[in-house]
Amino acid sequence: MIWIETIANGIFLGGLYALIGLGLGFTFGVMKIVNIAQGDFIVAAAFIGLALAPWTPGAALLVVIPVAIIAFLIGLALQSLLINRVLGKDQIPQILLTFGIAIILRNGMVEWFGANSRSIPTGSLRFASFSVGGLRFGVLPALVLVIALCLFAALHWWLRHSRMGRTIVATADDYEVVQLLGVNYRRVYNIATGIALALSAIAGVLLGMRGSFTPYSGVDRLLIAFEVVIIGGIGSFWGMFAGGLILGVTQIVGLKFDPTAGLMYGHIVFFLILIFAPMGIAGLLRR
């Protein structure tokens, strides 16, 4: 019985991990760029959420909306002011640029907020629970999984059915050809980065509500996002979701056996998958 509870908790956490991976995977899918600063932006979003939390008393979860909007704007600015200027066939400048931004963000947060561990207050939601078949689960973790699922479905739908979404998909396929159709691919990139950061920011705030964070948490977040994308299979939407669930379950089960292990078992599962299924879950299904 205890195992069912453990695995369920892993799945709840995995939904969030999937959401972190979605931001990274989406940027890569559209622009073939990996934003190394993603993990630190996630932590920055949690700090913004912490600052805005007093403004939404009673409905703690609503704070994700303003944070997502701010993150979207930051994403627009980041892409248009910095990353667009180093686009090119050579990927090294883009990777190094975002790495530099990550270092600035991380140490800036240490400077301003200190290195202490914090958590975003959620009021009565923190300890609320419900029971199914004699097992008790937290309301917040379950809600978080539902939010993650909804965001995955919404993005999936939006990319297929809206004009902007289709433009993004077309740009991802061939950024040179879409220019013939009057699309400014740099503008599309701005919006894509905005969306990616907004998604990651939501995940960051929710992670900050479920657990704790420090300015140094960005590295772990980035590695999780990266593992989710590779486990799922690069470019696969629902593969990423499954990747998140696998990592979440592995981590919670691993911590049960070995409380000091941290993310180690998640990393090991990631490498096992990389050896035995290098194209990820999506690659396995396609075969």
Partner: protein
Amino acid sequence: MTALRISRKASRLRAPSPKLVLAGCGIAALILAAAPLALDVGDLRLIIEILTVFAFAQTWNLLAGYAGLMSFGQHLFIGLGAYCLFVISNRTGANPFYLLPVAFLFSAGAAALISPMVFRLRHAYFAIGVWVLAEVARLYVSQEDWLGSTSGMALVATRDMDHTWVALANYWVAVALGVVCTAGFYLLLTSRLGLALVAVRDNESAAAASGIDVWWTRFYGFAIASGVCGLAGAAYYMSVFHLEPGAAFDANWVVVMLFIVIIGGVGTIEGPILGTAIYFLLRGWLAGTGNLYLMLLGAAAVATMLISPKGIWGAVRRRYGIEIFSARRLAD
């Protein structure tokens, strides 16, 4: 870069002959090796640090600038090399200086072992993949008592040796490392393997079509660079006598390597020399400012990418056509 552009540019570049370059390296090494006659222990310690950090940066440059393999996990090999040397020396009582080649082989072997796995990842994914391995190593070492867990271990063997001799030996090891990472890498880059590395970096398909085995070329590049990085890691921690997982497997090592290489100029041998000088000047100047100093390193990386992605030496080379360590070869 196409062949046409190389030949046109090469005619403008002034580069001294390889013999002159190697002679210059030899003279510089002799001066450095004789320096203990004039310097005190504190100065020697600083020079050891400068030379080993330079070696870290140069191995990163060999990977990112010449092999087209950017890795954010090179601190893995610093830790592996250092732990290999400490553990074997402490268990067997062996003289750690004789174990330096073992540290090299251990790190190079580890790189060879993980290559089949991490070479499945490309570009940024490769960079982060190695980083994950470094994280795994750090978490594993922190948990194991026989590796000293989180509190680490001290090097026992050098305690009973003559301290002046140990300091001098450490210093000469660092000087040798500096020579390997300039003259040695220069020779490597003008060899068949070096030219193959650059060819693969510039155009994988063209290199493969010319008969270069892309996978094995990358493999040798990765193993050599990681092996030397591990050797430098062992030398660095041998000179500070103490080792702990949080410091040895610290991702900030990569931040330092990256700063030095890209500020100086990625893909040039001169770049990291210049970058190391700038890094240590900045560090001395900003000592005690803590995080502001790291933020400045990040900002410098961002600014370099926006203004001159080839770094300071890249800009100098383009503007004045000067090149000291030229790995180019002119067609007769």
